[in-house]
């Protein structure tokens, strides 16, 4: 689980762009099957409610999902945005 504190440290102006990039990473990952079914269902629920890209829970879920299906790709994105603490928390 990504902590709420780590999510809240993401600068507000970055959140939308980061969320969209994580969605694309999830949708295009070769190992998409590694996304646990429970997370996939919650992701769809938040997406249908319009809360996936904006909420803390949605962003946390996208980060966890991205770590499961394409950790290297996620590392690259987090490095690009300089989100070191978040990287440490999500990728260990």
């Amino acid at each position: 689980m990504v902590s709420e504190e780590a999510i809240r440290e993401i600068p507000a102006e970055l959140r939308g762009e980061l969320a969209t990039r994580l969605v694309d990473l999830l949708l295009e990952a070769k190992e998409g099957v590694k996304l646990p079914s429970s997370k996939a269902k919650r992701l769809l629920q938040l997406w249908s409610l319009g809360e996936l890209l904006e909420s803390d829970e949605g962003l946390g879920l996208l980060l966890e999902g991205a770590a499961a299906v394409d950790p290297e790709g996620l590392k690259g994105i987090l490095d690009e945005y300089g989100l070191e603490r978040l990287k440490g928390e999500v990728l260990g």
Partner: protein, 331 residues
């Protein structure tokens, strides 16, 4: 003009559902899920879509009566209708001969099989009493649902050849014309109109859907590149008269077919020409797509179905089409 989108459930279930939710948010009206035994199950996918959406109409596009008996198709769409009341549609066609042969099924009397399947599905959904005596299918009076279906379920007939198009015009609540080019749609519309007249109906009684291959992107070049693999398969499967209509040499199509069969992808895709892309897809920038869809609309098409590949990146292309093309026709 209504807008539909087609997905082939080759991809993970949650991706197909994700894209459908996205499409619903952007104003697409229908989602069609293809039915092939070698992909994920169509009704499992549709059930999940029904669960996560509120407005978009949904249905198989298309199932066939050889692999799935019409009473089972009726049962599936009727059950789905309980999860998505009034949103379910049912697309049915003769199926793909090659795929049927893979499982030892012969596509016998396709027109009759589709006609009888449509009649049986309608009877089952309406819980009509009495059996059905067809030449392909028979049911006894006991073949009735133990539950009521609250809404009607429109049946669309998937068609490409003249006879099936006429049947669709005469019998369907809608027709799914498997074509993208105005010349092919114009030819198909002649037959649909004939069918409509034979059925004593008017063209406005049915939803005429162009089931196209779409590739939309900000840059023309990217859209064309994404269209190539799908166009290769369409060219390989097209009958000679359709190839000739577009001045595509039959030998070129044969070459692509052979390369695909031998899994020589680079050869197959490398042989796809601009003329082939033009003939078998709606491809280009949103502006180009608008022009092409307008041409189809003038011919009587009332639903545009955005079929595979949709674009170089599915999410971005669904978004681009939803933001820049659909509003042009809705506003």
């Amino acid at each position: 003009m209504r807008f539909g989108i087609e997905f082939v459930p080759m991809d993970l279930y949650w991706r197909t559902v994700f894209y459908t939710i996205q499409a619903e948010k952007l104003g697409y009206d229908h989602v069609w899920i293809t039915d092939h035994f070698n992909n994920r199950n169509v009704y499992v996918t549709l059930t999940l879509i029904a669960n996560y959406t509120e407005r978009i109409k949904l249905g198989p596009g298309v199932t066939n009566p050889y692999l799935v008996h019409p009473v089972m198709t009726a049962q599936a769409v009727a059950s789905l209708n309980e999860i998505a009341p009034g949103r379910v549609v049912c697309g049915i066609g003769a199926g793909d001969r090659t795929t049927l042969e893979m499982v030892g099924l012969e596509m016998k009397t396709p027109l009759r099989a589709v006609r009888e399947a449509v009649e049986i599905i309608r009877r089952m959904v309406a819980r009509e009493k009495g059996g059905y005596e067809g030449r392909v299918f028979r049911t006894t009076g006991g073949a009735r649902f133990n539950f009521k279906v609250q809404q009607s379920i429109p049946i669309y007939i998937g068609a490409q050849g003249p006879k099936m198009l006429r049947l669709a015009g005469a019998l369907g609540d809608g027709v799914l014309i498997n074509a993208s080019h105005p010349d092919d749609i114009a030819e198909a519309m002649k037959h649909v109109r004939e069918g409509v007249e034979r059925g004593g109906r008017s063209l406005s009684d049915i939803d005429v859907a162009a089931y196209t291959s779409l590739s939309v992107a900000e840059k023309e070049k990217k859209a064309r590149k994404a269209a190539i693999p799908v166009v290769a398969f369409i060219v390989a499967g097209s009958p000679p008269q359709i190839l000739e209509r577009h001045d595509i040499p039959v030998e070129a199509a044969e070459g692509i077919k052979k390369a695909l069969a031998e899994r020589r992808w680079a050869d197959a895709f490398g042989a796809v020409t601009d003329e082939m892309i033009e003939a078998f897809s709606i491809c280009g920038t949103p502006e180009t797509c608008i022009e092409k869809i307008e041409a189809l609309s003038r011919m009587g098409v009332t639903q545009f179905v955005a079929g595979s590949p949709i674009g170089p990146k599915v999410r971005s292309s669904i978004d681009l089409f939803g933001r820049e093309v659909i509003p042009h026709f809705k506003e």
